[in-house]
């Protein structure tokens, strides 16, 4: 079917500016296929059902909008954690700032190198999960990433990784337009923690494909920079096999536009997938969108979605979450909660928590609430001598706590909680 005129125009303009990077035959084929997908689906416009609440025009535009470089007075996150640092500045690998790409239990390579080798296991993952995740909902920006990404990391985990891997995304150019594509393959019984920090670029497209094999565990903790003007579209596509664990948490402080899409497919029995997010937004130019799609295609699996948003001064929060339980995926336990705390009258929360269920022996539930700080709770704290500002921040933090609890490592959770507290103190 022909695309609508607006969609066709947007797609043509953007694709005219795209030139595919050259590499080995297998990756050239994957990029070409991805570009064909983009052309067939067309880039998103506001009229798309899945972009109803978020305007993609600054993402689909040919040129990236400017974003001022911020001098962050806070030290880097996770500085005290023993980790493998991999630094990208405006989407370009910085060898000097990065550690040696070695750690026990993992093999880390750069996509730029992998793309040049004729034979590589990445062939079976690159763009593969993304392509699977295009149904039933089209995600053309993900396909565009697959087509155009030149770098990223390619990680293979064969045992319990010795230490976490930290991707650090720095921003140094006010008009940078970065595209990164990361692959993680966690082999049977292996375990790894992936940390991602920093604003990355003025406009950032990032895609992560994760294959979690039988009995393996993947932990993902991400903090998307602070008070930054960046526009980011990130995708995470994961395939979760038997008895595997997938856990992802994202913390967002401000940002003009953030769209985090998470597409999980549970294909093995007794597996578990958790996705959580906390975001705090201040001001009219804050727009944060969490779009999650979890498919249950196996028996006795569990999934959890926990999303909390604190919004003030005209900020906008969006949540679009879906649980799809396929026929035969009995004994599924699906839980989804999306909540917003609106600190003033100008902010807004737009949610679409969906369930699509084709199996009868499942327990799926979802809840969504929106409201102001509980005046009774505030009064109680005030009556105990807590000053109003501190009382409000305490209540706000406790509101966000349920999402932070989804981080398995308490040290990491604690550090992020401290950052949140100091942000709240600055913004109240």
């Amino acid at each position: 079917m022909a695309l609508a005129k607006l969609k066709q125009d947007v797609t043509d303009a953007r694709l005219a500016a795209v030139s595919l990077p050259e590499g080995a035959a297998w990756i050239n084929a994957a990029r070409n296929d991805a570009l064909t997908r983009v052309a067939a689906m067309g880039l998103p416009t506001r009229r798309d059902e899945y972009w109803k609440y978020t305007d993609p025009s600054s993402i689909t535009a040919v040129d990236a909008p400017q974003a001022a470089i911020l001098d962050n007075d806070e030290g880097p996150l996770f500085a005290d954690v023993d980790r493998v640092k991999i630094v990208f500045v405006d989407g370009v690998f910085d060898e000097d700032a990065s550690d040696d790409l070695t750690a026990e239990g993992v093999t880390i390579e750069r996509l730029a190198d992998v793309a040049a080798s004729d034979i590589h296991w990445a062939k079976d993952l690159y763009g593969v999960l993304e392509a699977r995740g295009q149904k039933p909902v089209a995600r053309p920006l993900a396909a565009l990433n697959t087509a155009t990404a030149t770098d990223g990391v390619v990680i293979r985990v064969t045992a319990k990784a010795e230490k976490p891997i930290n991707l650090i995304y720095l921003h140094n150019d006010a008009s940078s337009d970065a595209v990164l594509h990361n692959l993680v393959k966690v082999e049977a019984g292996a375990e790894v923690t992936l940390l991602e920090t920093g604003p990355a670029a003025s406009r950032f497209s990032k895609l992560l494909e994760v294959d979690v094999a039988e009995g393996a565990a993947f932990h993902h903790v991400r903090a998307q920079g602070r008070d930054h003007e960046r526009r980011a579209v990130t995708h995470c596509f994961a395939r979760i096999e038997k008895e595997a664990t997938f856990k992802s948490f994202t913390l967002t402080f401000n940002g003009v536009l953030t769209r985090n899409e998470c597409v999980l497919e549970i294909i093995g029995d007794d597996a578990s997938a958790h996705v959580a997010g906390a975001c705090v937004g201040d001001g009219k130019d804050f727009h944060h969108d969490d779009t999650v799609f979890i498919t249950h295609d196996a028996v006795n699996c569990e999934s959890r979605q926990v999303f909390k948003k604190v919004l003030r001064n005209g900020a906008t929060g969006v949540f679009q979450g879906k649980i799809l339980v396929k026929e035969g995926a009995q004994k599924t336990d699906g839980y989804q909660i999306s909540q917003s705390l609106l600190l003033d009258d100008d902010s807004q929360f737009l949610a679409k928590p969906e369930l699509e269920i084709y199996a009868d022996d499942v327990a799926c539930s979802h809840g969504s609430t929106s409201g102001a700080i509980d005046e009774d709770a505030l009064f109680y704290l005030r009556s105990r001598g807590v000053p109003e500002k501190i009382a409000r921040n305490m209540l706000t933090l406790s509101f966000l706590a349920e999402a932070l609890e989804e981080i398995a490592d308490e040290g990491l959770a604690e550090e992020l909680r401290d950052r949140l507290e100091s942000w709240l103190n600055r913004h109240s």
């Binding site: 059902e49 026929e327 035969g328 009995q330 917003s340 609106l342 600190l343 003033d344 009258d345 100008d346 902010s347 807004q348 929360f349 737009l350 949610a351 679409k352 928590p353 969906e354 369930l355 699509e356 269920i357 084709y358 199996a359 009868d360 022996d361 499942v362 327990a363 799926c364 539930s365 979802h366 809840g367 969504s368 609430t369 929106s370 409201g371 102001a372």
Partner: protein, 507 residues
Amino acid sequence: MTALDTVEVKEGVDQETVDAVKELSGNYKYGWETEIEMEFAPKGVNPDIVRLISQKNNEPEWMTEWRLSAFERWEKMEEPTWAMVNYPDIDFQDIYYYARPKSMEEKPKSLDEVDPKLLATYEKLGIPLKEQMILAGVEGAEDAPAEGRKVAVDAVFDSVSVGTTFQKELEKAGVIFCSISEAIEKHPELVKKYLGSVVPPSDNFYATLNSAVFSDGSFVYIPPGVRCPMELSTYFRINAENTGQFERTLIIADKGSYVSYLEGCTAPKRDTAQLHAAVVEIIVEEDAEVKYSTVQNWFPGDEDGKGGIYNFVTKRADCRGDRAKVMWTQVETGSAVTWKYPSCILRGNDSQGEFYSIAIANNMQQADTGTKMVHLGKNTKSRIVSKGISAGKAQNTYRGLVSMHPKAKESRNYTQCDSLLIGDKCGAHTVPYIEVKNNSSRVEHEATTSKVDDDQLFYCRSRGMDEEEAVALVVNGFCKEVLQALPMEFAMEAQALVAISLEGSVG
């Protein structure tokens, strides 16, 4: 027999529930056909057909123009595809848009002149068009005091209204209750003022088509301060083959008035699907209250999904004045495909909207139904309670919108939707949209049975019930409450549903 017989029912769904669903969906009681000589307009739709329908109804020029402009618009529109329903493409040129019994050519002046065949049809449906005190089939009603038991009925047969009962008595109270074609003739000022003001002719594909070709329907006007002395009811019957029914209902509750309105519908069993695209507009002025109840029982098609009614309906109430109140109650058991979202626009301050729905889909039925609560005024309240039950290979979707506009301060919404799946070949889906644009409003959306009131649970537990029993009792009590919101005349039909428990529900 129904597909339910072969389905293995999982533990926790009691037999009573299964039987009740079977009873309701297995044998369609209203599948017979009345043999009566009909008069059709040529098949298809075009400006000439629109003019013809307008002319048959003796409409003034402005009405014809209104229809034609809607038709012009419709031609440019595309059929919506977002609902979770699948059906073969509808050939809009292969349908009769106007069908009336020959005997209705000359409008009967009173019920005595109506063709006895038509009267017999409604008699058989349990809706006798006699001005008697009670509706047949309402058990125990004989003993009840006659007052308050009266129901005025407007009966619509294919494209025309065949008669309206109790008109004289209603007139005494100042209430106007007649077919919409009669209203266009006799009360053009009211129709002109309100028609299309809630559901504009450009609203959506089916509403626009309806605006162009609607043939009849009911019109209600309740003057200020009047409490309508009896329940008003419209009974829709599709009889002729390959005919689409496009009815239009307009209800106006002026300041401080009250009315309870009932709607029922049935159609014969046929192999081919038939289209029903209705529009209902309700205007609720200051301090007025409207209760609108539907028991939708169109032919659902056979077990293999052959035939049945495609029910594409736009229903909307506009609470224009402060403290206006509207309540939608629907029991959806029929239709092959349902696409229906009775909505409330809460414009007046302190206005209230309620939506109670029980949707049962069996065999190959598909239902995509829900509501929209648009909060515009301050301190507005809405409540949504939706229970969806799927069996066989049916698909049941709740789709709803709760929107709190920036000016709707201190507003409140509570939504609960529960689904029950009987058998492993069916589907239950929830697609709520929640848009909150101010912080003094509270919106809660829940879709779990575990959120049953803890105090009530505790009370039941303290009386020695086990937890499951307690939950069942509380939920059942709640469900009954929804059913009891239905007026007496529908309660009979709906009571069969009471047995359905929500044990083992999923969100």
